[in-house]
């Protein structure tokens, strides 16, 4: 946040400009939150109430529509599956990419730039381009409809960005630190474990959260790689649910709201890292 306005000339005693700005901001806010609030309130309404009165408060608050979902097993199973897949994916991504990024940042060896370039190829195309061969590969490995079948490709596709971000960070660590450590007989491996990792917690958090959010929200990979509802993560679960209650919007909206709330809470708690990660990745471009 800067104290200096971008354009000091806009400061006037009668600030119509400021008023105009707030009108614009208010209008955009309305466009953003109207669908979200309607969704959350819709979960409390009866079908008839939702139809006649989509915007207002519910005439009767049907808490049971929310509690039914929360007391049932499906919601928690979907959430649990997502948590499991995302947590392990993040772990695998962080493990592989810190090791690789460290090597690229500090160790000199022949062919390094070639290998870096190779790993950056993954940044060029989205996972969706390769879903058919991925399906065949995961099937042939016997991993279809298993958690690992989703976790491994998910991690593989997040490697490129993670390595890029972490390598940039590792290179910023003072060079003298490494040379001093090496002179004192500390090898690369001990240096990595005792010095690089502890100093890199912020970037690990940023990369981890970005990978987690991507995995938590992902749809296309589990869609093709999982086929039993037992293992569905929540985006597949919610599609399953809405397929079941096609036009019972009040029930679907309740379910949607319950999946959105954790996302918003986590976002508010970690927004510093998310925004930092996005803009860091962006500035490097």
């Amino acid at each position: 946040m800067q104290s200096e306005p971008l354009d000091p000339g806009l400061r006037k005693p009668w600030n119509f400009v400021l008023l105009y700005k707030y009108l614009v901001l208010g209008f955009v806010t309305l466009l953003i939150i109207a669908p979200l609030i309607t969704t959350a309130l819709g979960g409390f309404k009866s079908a008839a109430d939702l139809r006649t009165n989509p915007f207002g408060l519910p005439t009767v608050w049907h808490w049971n529509q929310y509690t039914d979902i929360l007391l049932g097993i499906d919601y928690w199973r979907y959430m649990g599956n997502s948590m499991l897949i995302s947590a392990i994916s993040v772990f695998v991504t962080l493990l592989c990419s810190t090791l690789a990024a460290f090597t690229f940042a500090h160790v000199k060896f022949f062919g390094k730039e070639f290998i870096v370039g190779y790993l950056m190829v993954g940044l060029l195309f989205p996972v969706a381009t390769a879903i058919l061969p991925l399906f065949v590969k995961v099937r042939d490995m016997g991993l279809l409809n298993t958690y690992w079948g989703v976790i491994l490709p998910t991690s593989a596709f997040s490697l490129g960005m993670s390595i890029l971000l972490m390598r940039n960070m590792f290179e910023k660590l003072p060079r003298e630190l490494l040379s001093a450590a090496l002179v004192d007989g500390c090898g690369y491996i001990r240096f990595f474990w005792h010095i690089t990792l502890p100093l890199s917690r912020p970037i690990l958090a940023t990369v981890g959260i970005i990978a987690f959010v991507a995995s938590w929200n992902q749809y296309v990979l589990p869609l093709i790689l999982l086929n039993s509802e037992e293992r569905y993560p929540w985006p597949l679960g919610i599609m399953e649910y809405q397929g079941e209650f096609t036009t019972d919007w009040h029930l679907i909206l309740a379910f949607v709201t319950l999946t959105v709330i954790p996302a918003i809470v986590v976002f508010l708690a970690t927004q510093k890292y998310i925004v930092a990660g996005l803009t860091a990745g962006a500035v490097k471009g």
Binding site: P133, N217, A263
Partner: protein, 312 residues
């Protein structure tokens, strides 16, 4: 390997210290690389590079996915793909997303960023609010908006009721469904692009504004001749993300229209999924994937080589 001397190699060896000779360090470097790189390389090769190569290979066959591909057809799948109207629709829809991102979303994001980059009361809350849709899963955004667009219970239903119009189901209208989806894309992503612009604005040197004002530039001139030119690289970045996002557009479409009605809202990826995966035409689907891959790579290379360089 040793193009730049490290402090290590130029510091004089002191006696009594266990300073290892350079070749020992090199050897240790090799050992470290040999230990640290394989996990990433293996995972990446197995699940990113090989599948992409296999897509190119599978695309030469007519194959339903069982056993191994045997029915070799050469470029037949590509010929069939190019002659399909759905392919053109899908490409055009991807193009539409890019056009809307550049000519509608980018100005909105840039304008809001200019308003919010100044410290104004409540600014942080607006930033968070505008960024919020970006945090939602695309599936959720699609579902919420299918409700909004629903002709019986949603916002549109209410409007048609107020104005005594017949019920209107926009997502079932071939001619309008794609525009409805475009609105959702702008709704979901302008906040992300706004954040890019805010970061870009904060990197601008304040002295430039003061200098411009001292020279008697009007607010409009400052915007036109100082702010916007300096945001050029942010704009290029924003367009870059918009294009990549468009090329992988899938999750929002599925809950809203599944690519229908009559394939009017297919994108490259929904086309690949609906016609390659669902119908078990792995050869044909792989041809779509390969075309999409080529588009992505050509775009990324041309954009980075050409556009980013002259941004400097």
């Amino acid at each position: 390997m040793t193009d730049t001397p490290t402090p290590n190699s130029i510091s004089p060896p002191r006696q009594g210290f266990s300073l290892r000779p350079a070749n020992a360090l090199n050897r240790e470097g090799w050992v470290t690389a040999a230990l640290f790189l394989p996990p990433a390389l293996l995972l990446f090769t197995l699940f990113v590079v090989l599948p992409m190569g296999e897509a190119a290979y599978f695309s030469l066959f007519k194959w339903n996915g069982f056993g191994t591909p045997e029915d070799y057809r050469g470029l037949y799948n590509y010929e069939r793909l190019i002659s399909r109207d759905i392919f053109k629709t899908a490409l055009w829809n991807n193009m539409l997303v890019i056009l809307v991102s550049v000519f509608i979303q980018l100005p909105i994001a840039c304008g809001l960023a200019i308003i919010l980059a100044d410290k104004i009361p409540g600014g942080n809350i607006f930033r968070l609010l505008f960024f919020l849709p970006y945090v939602l899963a695309e599936i959720v955004a699609g579902l919420i908006w299918r409700f909004v667009y629903d002709g019986d219970t949603g916002f549109i239903a209410k409007f048609t009721e107020w104005f005594d119009l017949p019920a209107f189901y926009i997502l079932a209208e071939q001619d309008y469904a794609m525009y409805a989806i475009l609105a959702v894309i702008v709704w979901k992503y302008f906040g992300f692009h706004m954040m890019l612009f805010i970061a870009g604005l904060q990197a601008i040197d304040r002295d430039l504004y003061r200098a411009a004002r001292v020279d008697g530039a009007s607010a409009w001139q400052v915007l036109r001749f100082v702010t916007l030119p300096l945001l050029k690289s942010t704009m290029k970045l924003s367009i870059f993300f918009a294009v990549l996002g468009s090329l992988q557009l899938f999750d929002i479409i599925m809950p809203m229209t599944l690519g229908g009605p009559s394939d009017s809202t297919q994108t490259m990826v929904t086309y690949l999924y609906n016609h390659g995966f669902i119908r078990a035409k792995l050869g044909f689907g792989s041809a779509i994937g390969t075309v999409l891959f080529i588009i992505c790579v050509v775009f990324a290379v041309v954009y980075q080589k050409g556009f980013f360089r002259d941004a400097e």
